[in-house]
């Protein structure tokens, strides 16, 4: 029987997926819950597609199987599509609506699907589109994009809001705590708004 709650965080190397997974891990520690995770390190981080698996209440291996993730958090629209098959039926996706165009599109002429088409292909899932780049700027730094996204998804994560905020405050560089907490809160509001509309839709 599937136990626990499985979250896949995806993005591009350098966007802070590892920090995001650490926030979840730390929040689990705060709540005394077991957690397992797996992530991409090494060369693949150089601007490549990266994934972090986090299994809250996880007791076995660190990897989430395709078709079984409860939640996908994506820092890039195209990456949401790349990993959407990990979602279980009835799971949720929170994705940044911005997209970085892979260099392969320029150098090798690979065809890039239109943004509208990507959305169409994601829309049959419960998908929330978050303007994470704009909201991160609003919070004070584009670098807080990852924390905006964690805030946005936080309403769906089975961890307390206070535990998640405490984890953010503990893990981000000391000088950026205020910016990041603001990013988290802005993200949380945006996620709540979006959650309402996609549930009513």
């Amino acid at each position: 029987m599937k136990t626990g709650y499985d979250i896949l965080i995806v993005g591009i190397g350098g966007q802070g997926t590892i920090l995001a997974s650490n926030i979840l891990g730390e929040a689990c520690l705060i709540e005394g819950r077991p957690v397992k995770g797996a992530e991409t390190h090494g060369m693949a981080q150089r601007g490549g597609s990266v994934e972090s698996h986090i299994r809250i209440d996880g007791r076995f291996g660190p990897l989430i199987a395709p078709g079984t993730a409860d939640l996908i958090i994506s820092f890039d629209l195209l990456e949401a599509l790349r990993y959407a098959h990990y979602l279980k039926a009835g799971g949720e996706i929170f994705t940044n609506c911005a997209m970085v165009i892979p260099t392969s599109v320029y150098t090798q002429g690979v065809q890039l699907p239109e943004e509208a088409e990507i959305r169409k292909r994601l829309d049959h899932q419960n998908t929330c589109y978050i303007e994470a780049d704009r909201l991160a700027q609003e919070a004070g730094s584009i670098l807080s994009r990852n924390v905006v996204m964690m805030g946005a998804a936080s309403g769906s994560i089975p961890l307390g809001n206070e535990s998640l905020r405490a984890a953010v405050a503990k893990l981000v560089p000391p000088k950026t705590v205020d910016v990041n907490l603001k990013a988290y809160d802005i993200g949380r509001d945006a996620g709540r708004e979006c959650g309402k509309s996609h549930r009513s839709a």
Binding site: K2, I12, P62, T103
Partner: protein, 589 residues
Amino acid sequence: MQTRYLLGNEAIAHGCLESSFDVACGYPGTPSSEVIDVLRVQRERTYYVEWSVNEKVALECALAAAWCGVRALCTMKHVGLNVAADPLMTSAYTGVTGGLVILSADDPYAHSSQNEQDSRCYAHFARIPCLDPSSVQEAHDMVKDAFGLSEEFKLPVLFRPTTRICHSKGDVILGDISTTIRKGEFVRDPRQYVVIPAHTRVLHKKLNEKQPAIKKRLIELGYNTCMVRGEKAVIASGIAAAYVQEILPANVSFMKIGAYPIDEEWLKEFVRMHREVLVVEELAPVVEEVVRQVAGSVTVYGKTDGHSPYEGELSAAATARIFNSCGFETAVKFPEQSPAAEVPPRPPILCAGCMHRPVFYAMKKVFRDGIFPSDIGCYTLGLQLGAVDTTICMGASVTVASGIMHSGEERDIVATIGDSTFLHTGIQGLLNAVYNGAKLTLVILDNRITAMTGHQPNPTTGLTAVGVPTPPVSLEAICRACGVSLVETVDPYDLVGLTAAFRDVKERPGVKVIIARQTCVITARRAGLKRGHYQVDQDACTSCGLCIKFGCPAIERVGEKAHINDLCSGCGVCTHICPAAAIHREAGR
């Protein structure tokens, strides 16, 4: 005691701190690098730690420390163990006094490696104990025990985590950092440490005599355990044990293997209690072979009969497919899901402003018809730019170049190698090329750091692993000492000078070396270097697309025209590529 959410390698490093090791040596290699990266910055315990220049050097250094009675750790990735195989095999004969743990991290699925070899085979080959953890917590606990085990049997212990242990995370219960400090003392004993034939024959016999007791002890330590629950059984090792436990029905027996060599009598007793036994393990059929030896008439499923793959990594879902293939039920069912079609790939790429890109650009321009052997590092990504024709192992750029040339191939050969890889095993190849009269060009991509594995310092950096200043080695002097008469150093950001250097060496005989020297953009950024930012004059841009083909991730197409985004690190190379001179440094940044 405390619980923390840690990366596998961080947990392993902490386990070492708890078990009072005194010396750590290693060469960076994914997925092993973070162990020393953690140990070289923590201040809670004093010990000696170094980044060695290669794995053979690291192991010999750690071995000698263990001979002197202190505890030593040696880390590397699986292919590094090939480089260290020479001392490894005989270290089992000489044995150790202080505990010696050799961490060799395997990489099933070759996430970041040139092959999928299985370090357990080396342990079997050398006849030393091997520990194979199934979780982050177990990795922490095992490495802690490994030093004691090594001292008990006076043998090096091979510790073999895989990528999904090293780069997994979990809540880990940690112990206290040990305060025991040992001081090494070399006790002269030629019969132990001088392996002339007369001594080594005796040592070999002693090594073999140790084996039965090791097998018994590994069961007592609880690494190899079993539960009898039905007529069918699954035997799994390492992380595969975690995948099996996730899907195992309650009426199937289970044996977990975490340590080798396996006691055949104990195994036989378990196997023969069942009608059918399935063995699940990643990579080589190490456990399966022993199971088949003891199985008698019991049916055994595994790799040799095609149920389980030899290659790649497992997962709970992949393990469920193996179960299904041989008629075993699973407690969890996984949906069949395939990735969305037509999503453009996003492979890793060289950073914006990476010095390797202009080198490859100029090299390809001057040597249109050239052959480009390369090596292992970030620059292997030059494959995407058509600038990498071969890579096989560390240091094999210049040797492969020699071999191609001596085969009679007449085209120009230009090999590329990074600073760290050159110092690892490239020097011998260069020496050999000069000595034997090769005709080739070697480009040393010198960014003064071991970048790909996470920016570890090396002898060109000017700092040791722990940040102590040390004179940076002169690559020019090394090349000249190898007998190279033409050694030219260039700044790869100066595309004009770089191209001229390539044109110059093209016409000359013998072995020529170009040293392209520029800081890695990531270390430069960390050091606070700001070069400003470039932009495209939209009126001057003719939409020719040449700068976009250069492949810098900071240059994109917006509409018809080129545009430079925030990733720009200010190397300025693209200004030399644009034929319309439309790229300029942004004012005021």
